[in-house]
Amino acid sequence: MSDLFDYTVRLGDDALIAAQRTAEWIAAAPQLEEDVALGNIGLDQLGQARSLLQYAGSLDGRTEDDLAYFREEREFRNLQLCELPNGDFAHAMARLLYFATYQHLLYEELRTCADETLAGVAGKAVKEVAYHVDHATQWVLRLGDGTEESHRRMQAALEALWPYTGEMFESDELIGRLAVAVDPAPLRAEWERRVLAVIDESTCSRPEASYQHTGGRSGRHTEHLGYLLAELQHVARSHPGATW
């Protein structure tokens, strides 16, 4: 399989698994307005996933559904950050802040890459994720600078997810070989600047440097991805070829 396929699947899997987690919030968010907001965000992520997995599939004769529903856990290449369980609302907003800020920096670079399809997907998605960053920022500020309880939960969420942020900026041989791939390592400084500015303003304290989890890009996942995939895939696998 080609490097371009592997790279596109990484981006597509990030978006797909993030979309699945975001969708779990629908009808469970703190207020109706937030249900709709998270529904919009989840569908943005799903749209990105579809475009990317369609493209990846076209490179090796599979469909987006083949890739989403009929791959095993070890074949998924998403960041572990995307697959972690939702936790409370503060966790959702911490994850969205970390992930969308990363996606925004990545897509900004990718939209000028030499591959027309990837550049096109990134060009459309960059506006979507800019809004995701804004949405997460608004909530991190309000929860962090809110009540004693909301501050405590926001702080806990920012710290709990921090050990999963290092993986976003890992460079590897694939990135080195593939000319159109964006090397994420140099994005880290700007990512930290943006994220830490939000954390500072929220009155939360910066998470301390800690052990960083890794493995998603090579198919090694947390125990949580299997359960997520079971829910995502079981209908398609129980009724192969069904449409609805």
Binding site: P30, Q31, L32, E33, E34, V36, A37, N40, D134, H135, Q138, R142
Partner: protein, 93 residues
């Protein structure tokens, strides 16, 4: 979660048109109200501009005052431009 203030939402559907009231929503403050309005009321390209106004900041006419407020306008046909006949030969009117 505690009940958040109610906001009235106005959306301008296209440039050149006025903002039109589209509904209301709850939000903790104006910034979030604007974002919620974007998510709830413009997700199908309904607008290019949004206003939000705290519902308590709107002073509304009372249904009890309907008679004296609105009925007297009912028979004032001379307030409509169509009431007047344009004399022949008048240009630029």
């Amino acid at each position: 979660m505690s009940i958040e203030p109610l906001w009235e939402v106005f959306v301008r559907s296209r440039r050149g048109l006025s903002h039109t009231h589209v509904g209301s929503l709850h939000a903790p403050d104006a910034t979030m109200a604007l974002r919620n309005a974007r998510d709830v009321y413009t997700r199908r390209q309904e607008g290019v501009s949004i206003w939000v106004v705290r519902a308590t900041d709107i002073t509304a006419s009372s249904p009890d005052e309907k008679d004296e407020f609105f009925d007297p306008a009912g028979d004032k046909v001379y307030r409509h431009p169509t009431f007047y006949e344009v004399p022949e030969g008048v240009e630029h009117l």
